[in-house]
Amino acid sequence: MATRLLVLEDDDGLRTSLRLVLENEGYDVVEAADAEVALEAVDQPGVDLMLVDLMLNGMDGFSFIRRARPQTDAPIVVVSARDGVQDIVAALEAGADDYVTKPFVVEEVQARLRALLRRPAMVSEGTRSREDDVFVLDSGNGPLVFDRGAAILTRGSRELHLTNTEFRLLGVLVDHAGRVLSRSALLEHVWDRGFFGDERIVDVHVRRLRRKIEMDPGTPSVLVTVRGLGYRLDVR
């Protein structure tokens, strides 16, 4: 089945040209000219990916992302003419997975979408047995268990909800548990971005992940920062 892609963009010309190109690439494109229409589309199951403009008439892109995030784990790529640090960080904090600034070439958007579409389970593809896919990340009160095969993260008996990108980030960190991963390495592994990538994407996602997996996100004990170098996952 074709990947269903929601394009939320209020500029008719750009939205139409994006639909033409992305349909040509094999996506099943759903157009939305404002956030209300887009929210209705998200309410229906089946949206796999979203391209979201930040500056919209009526409800803006930030509010849309905040409203849509609880409904879906589908990756959200922000497409924006706003490229200030605050805007990008705010969009990522709201739940976006990556961003592209205008003017862009459509190949760039396609590359971002492809990177985010890689399934969490694909990180562990290979010859691992079922047992090898289960990792106990924190054996403290209410053990934190990551089952990559089943794409499930639990703290005690409670299942923690991660977005696709958060799952893939955790997967890469688990693969290199106990070793420091630089921000650019994480950008490369998770977002498929090169050296020009924005390391703030990594920082915001690490913050988001910590809020879910750490007992005290302010003083992380599992996903720790190694100053000047990057991040390290400590299995305890």
Binding site: D11, V21, D83, V85, K102, V105, S184, F195, D198, E199
Partner: protein, 459 residues
């Protein structure tokens, strides 16, 4: 005077004017003092000499009257004070108490007065120093009495006074010059502040203002200067806003164009002519998009540095990443640092990678290809030399090429935006560094990017 001031500066002019004023004043005072003192002293000396001469003349007259004594005997019985010579003129003969001095010449100034029967006083310069000549007629013995007293003490007093006054005048002149220098410095001090502020403003620091002052003489200057900077700032902001607004408005249409065109490019059923036209459009649109991106980037760099997120990074790592980001061989990097002491800089990594990539691209586009990148420590800085194998940049273009939309040589299809090097300059400037272009020893151009080093404990 005006020309002199032009050559020597306001401060020297004021100093000299003060010195000349002090000199004129002190010279006038000194001369006045000298001449009035001299007048008084001379008069006093003459009175003394006359008193002495009258006493001595009376003695001589009395002696000559009594026993018809000879003049020479009478003169021999007088013991005049040191430096005083007595002459007696009688019967056409001159008698003197000293053989050194010729009587007629020494007393010639007073003789006519004495001849009229009155006592006379005058000066002669037959002696060295000059002497007071007092002549007294002695009608009772039919003789003329003269006394020539050398005014040695008076001369010494006057020369001492003259020296003292000259020294005073010189000291006063010097003092005047010093006061002038201090005054001009005091007056010009606010100008130094204005100069400093103007230099800062011209260097791009438009937040510079002069401090408010209570001094009514300076308030107008300070106010005018600050208003000028305000106006300049406002004007620059307007220009920047306009450029930003235009660039911003172009983002979406350019994106729509490139997106639609990519569909056309992917199409296989175009005639060769149309395909060629589409290709041309794509190339030029790509250039347009790059120019727009560069403009936006420049606007961000101009607007503020708040966007920058400086972090410490090893220079070699930075250059390696820049080479890799552009798909170039890391082996192009030749480090001349001590490999154990890795040099670190604090930079916004994406901005600096972009600046370095711009330099590499520039070397490839205009400089016949990137030949190598060298790192050279320079004190508290590190120099990154980007060397190319092209024809080099003519000396007169070496500054111009960092200006916006400046180009060396002709325009080729699909080349840069003309903003790449200004982005480099702006980025480096924001990081407290500098960039310039020079020649490479083996031919070609070298772009030197100088960045301040980090000297931290954890460097």
């Amino acid at each position: 005077m005006t020309r002199w001031r032009k050559v020597h500066g306001l401060r020297s002019s004021v100093t000299v004017a003060f010195a000349l004023g002090a000199l004129a004043l002190s010279a006038a005072l000194a001369l006045g003092t000298y001449f009035s003192a001299r007048h008084y002293l001379v008069e006093q000396r003459e009175r003394t000499a006359m008193r002495q001469a009258f006493t001595d003349a009376a003695f001589v007259r009395d002696n000559l009257l009594t026993s018809g004594a000879q003049v020479s005997d009478v003169l021999g019985s007088i013991s005049p004070p040191a430096g005083t010579v007595i002459f007696v003129h009688r019967d056409g003969r001159w008698y003197s108490s000293s053989l050194d001095l010729p009587g007629p010449e020494a007393t010639s100034g007073v003789q006519p007065v004495v001849a009229t029967g009155a006592a006379g006083v005058g000066w002669t310069s037959v002696t060295e120093p000059g002497a007071v000549v007092v002549g007294v007629p002695l009608p009772a013995v039919d003789a003329e009495y003269y006394e020539v007293a050398v005014a040695e003490e008076l001369d010494r007093t006057l020369s001492t006074l003259g020296i003292a006054l000259a020294i005073c005048a010189a000291v006063t002149t010097l003092g005047g010059a010093m006061v002038g220098r201090a005054a001009s410095r005091r007056v010009l001090a606010p100008l130094a502040d204005v100069t400093t502020a103007a230099v800062k403003v011209s260097a791009g620091d438009l937040d510079t203002r002069l401090d408010r002052t209570e001094d009514p003489d300076l308030a107008a200057l300070v106010g005018a200067f600050n208003n000028m900077v305000d106006a300049l700032h406002e004007r620059i902001q307007q220009d920047a806003r306009f450029a930003a607004d235009v660039s911003h408005e172009l983002r979406t249409p350019v994106t729509t164009l490139t997106t639609s065109l990519s569909l056309l490019q992917g199409s296989t059923d175009l005639s060769p002519e149309v395909a060629r036209a589409v290709e041309l459009m794509a190339v030029e649109l790509a250039r347009f998009r790059r120019a727009l991106e560069d403009l936006l980037q420049l606007g961000r760099l101009d607007a503020d540095v708040h966007d920058a997120q400086p972090a410490e990074i090893g220079v070699r790592d930075l250059v390696r990443q820049a080479l890799l980001a552009g798909g170039r061989a890391p082996a192009l990097l030749v480090a001349e640092c001590d490999p154990l002491r890795e040099a670190h800089v604090t930079v916004d990594r994406p901005q600096m990678l972009r600046a370095l990539t711009n330099l590499f691209d520039n070397a490839d586009t205009h400089g016949g290809g990137l030949v190598g990148v060298r790192l050279k420590p320079r004190g508290t800085f590190v120099d990154i030399h980007v060397e190319d194998g092209g024809p080099g940049v003519p000396a007169e273009d070496r500054e111009r090429i960092f200006e916006r939309f400046a180009r060396a040589g002709g325009r080729k299809l699909g080349t840069g935006s003309g903003l790449g090097l200004s982005i480099v300059a702006r980025t480096v400037h924001n990081h407290g560094g500098s960039v310039w272009c020079t020649t490479r020893p083996g031919g070609g151009a070298t772009f030197v990017l100088r960045l301040p080093l980090v000297h931290g404990d954890d460097a």
